[in-house]
Symmetry: C2
């Protein structure tokens, strides 16, 4: 597949999509992005993948502390889903006290790599993002904004 945006015949007047056109209508999904989203849906999954990608095999406790503000129940739950989806691998060392660690499968690894640009984007635009959230916090406290 050639990656150049030169379109021989169509109108040169359009805003020139900087994003390559994605295969729409995959079997069951509206597009590739849709498919991906189904897998990483879950408040902490992208973070989990990303941390595992950076830190390599990580024990449960460490992960728990890395992903701040997550509860045991949810962390475990998301890890199980990620495992079921073939993105992470759980290793139980059958020791006592318990010792378990989580790592990425090749598939998980590839997904984590696809998350890199999102992470960079966030880092580059923390300013905008946190400002937006500061503003939201004002009216998102149990009340709609009184006047448009």
């Amino acid at each position: 597949m050639s990656l150049d945006d030169s379109d021989p015949i169509s109108s040169p007047l359009q805003p020139a999509p900087a994003v390559q056109s994605c295969t729409r209508n995959l079997p069951g999904f509206t597009c590739g992005l849709d498919a991906t989203l189904r897998v990483i849906a879950g408040k902490w999954k992208p973070l989990i993948l990303y941390f595992l990608a950076q830190d390599g095999p990580t024990r449960y406790g460490e992960l728990r502390r890395a992903v701040r503000d997550v509860s045991d129940k949810v962390l475990i739950q998301q890890l199980k889903e990620l495992e079921a989806d073939g993105l992470v691998k759980r290793t139980d060392y059958k020791e006592v006290p318990p010792r378990v660690d989580y790592s990425l499968t090749p598939l998980g690894q590839s997904l984590a790599e696809a998350l890199v640009p999102l992470c960079s984007w966030g880092t580059e635009h923390v300013a905008e993002v946190s400002q937006v959230f500061a503003e939201r916090a004002t009216w998102t406290r149990r009340g709609r904004q009184p006047t448009g």
Copy 2:
């Protein structure tokens, strides 16, 4: 407390993180990815951004049809949030019958570009993803799996 799998000098046996280390502990976020996720949290937001990036300014109705299965209420809602967050621009042509279109701001455009790898990932791995979902559908119909 020393975990012999994360020692600065010993153990050259690690999987060699293919993902660059991300700035952890940004002000308010655990990392850049965290920041990004706050902005695109919402079932349809990434899709919206992506479609706008590909199609350029898009009328409400078209968008509605592109993002299949979304309801008016939710679409509108997410568009408003994206607008409030400075990612999309709403243009009301003040015509009758109503004519409005949505487009990306530069910020939104940059985010959309960061979504490209996710879309590619999904496209490349539709097989795995849909298989996983097929399996999930089996036991995710109002009941836990009876026996391991």
